[in-house]
Amino acid sequence: MNESLLSIQDLYIKIKAGEKTLLRNVHIEVNKGEIVGLIGESGSGKSLTARAIMGLLPHGMNINGRILFKNSDLVKISTEEHRQLLGNEIGMIFQDYRGSFTPFIKIGKQMVETICTHQKVRKKEAQNIALQVLDEMGLDSKRVYLSYPFQLSGGQLQRASIATAISLKPSLLICDEMTTALDVMNGEKVLHYIDKVRKETGCAVLMITHDLAQAYKRTDRMYVMNQGEIVEEGLPEQIRCHHQHPYTKKLCSCLLALPGETLVTERVISV
């Protein structure tokens, strides 16, 4: 399973005017079927990285380096090809779950539309796929299918949007702060299903978050980002207990311990 799926190499992003560098020398590897965490505070460049992969950078930005996805370089391909990739190969889930569906159209209809635009299937088949993926997400598929977005809770909506993304069977799922707007229990549920989907379909997940507890628990590997640079990477235990970089240390010390929980074994190292 150690086949590389997405490989970001020497990625630089600059604002054209003013020569301000937003991302500097970013390296990220995502292998097939892996959950990779990208953590950092707001403004660290996490979301910008995601947008670069999706080809959704705002105007006025220069991009340098390589983003290899299944051996094609996403930096060089045309917008048209990029659009083909989005959805079919790369799915994205955003923080703002309210924005993922149009408010006045039933969720089922929107899902069918999405499936039909990306894949050559008939409407009937698309419906079946939609119902099936909603089921997989642990939702009452019939009810959700016939609901308008405002009739569902935040957690349900977020799971529905994941359902939409995985209905296209992407090989990479990018989750940008997808649990931030949800509370702990709903977030946990959403993450549980992401994990399940990963195990079942073998799609890789790039999980962008600032929630350390989640990242420790759910990821196979994680990257720490600060001010546009990857400052550290490693296994969750490595980052948690044996971090090297001062910024990682600062970030890790911000995770408050539950009673009786040891988060950092750092003292042992320093002695």
């Binding site: 702990v184 995770l255 408050l256």
Partner: protein
């Protein structure tokens, strides 16, 4: 017993029950965490305690006095000793007013109060505002700035300074860290803890983050669908007798 809530009941409509006969007691100087998901009624509880919303049944007693909703004279006395810090750092300060004006609003309304931690004599109003800012660890210079020029954490510090300026004996915090970055969250929590030690005020800390609650509070109350399902001392958090919902919450927040 400083704050006693008995049988508090609130309904928005027939279907939506915000609070279902809630009763609890808070001792002087305690720090109570109220945990629950969105929709559990935890924010409604905070708003009712502050008199921002009315309630149908039940009673709230503070230091032996009953607080009736809609009675202005009662509320004034009550608000002298109770303040609130809100969730959204972006809208907690009026964007059109300089910081010092926002900061001094409570003190202006309660002219009879002089905070014991300040030597107010001979100070201009702006200087009082500067002192308040220093207490929450902000730069004096900020008094003349506008909220748009401050970061989220700074704004939240200003609103904490504003809340403690009249030395409330009860401070209700409604998810004060939810809109902030992780590193800033910890700073704000530390500040609250430090202020609590200094002034010995009672804190009701409403949050969905059980980690934050266990950092700050001695007692935890778990709210679900408008009812209190569990209530315990922090030291008993892993007891077998915990409600399944509490266990689920802890499990969700844990890293294993």
């Amino acid at each position: 017993m400083s704050l006693v809530v008995e049988g508090l009941f609130k309904q928005y409509s027939k279907q939506v029950q915000a609070l279902n006969h809630i009763s609890f007691r808070v001792n002087e100087g305690e720090c109570i965490g109220i945990v629950g998901e969105s929709g559990s009624g935890k924010s409604t509880l905070g708003r009712i305690l502050l008199g921002l919303e009315t309630y149908k049944e039940g009673s709230i007693t503070y230091h032996g006095k009953t607080i009736a909703p809609r009675k202005r004279s009662d509320l004034r006395q009550f608000r002298k000793s109770v303040q609130m810090v809100f969730q959204d750092s972006t809208s907690t300060l009026n964007p059109k007013l300089p910081i010092w004006k926002s900061l001094l609003e409570p003190l202006d309304n309660f002219k009879e109060i002089t905070p014991s931690f300040l030597k107010v004599e001979g100070l201009t109003r702006k200087e009082i505002a500067q002192e308040l800012l220093e207490i929450v660890g902000l730069d004096k210079e900020m008094v003349d700035r506008y909220p748009g020029e401050l970061s989220g954490g700074q704004k939240q510090r200003v609103s904490i300074a504003r809340a403690i300026s009249i030395e409330p004996s009860l401070l209700v915090c409604d998810e004060p860290t939810a809109s902030l970055d992780v590193t800033v969250q910890v700073q704000i929590l530390r500040l609250l803890k430090e202020l609590q030690k200094k002034t010995n005020m009672t804190i009701l800390f409403i949050s969905h983050d059980i980690r934050a609650v266990s950092f700050l509070c001695d007692k935890v109350m778990v709210l679900k669908d408008g009812s209190i399902v569990d209530q315990f001392e922090l030291s008993e958090i892993y007891d077998e007798g915990r409600h399944p919902y509490t266990k689920a919450l802890i499990q969700a927040a844990s890293i294993e």
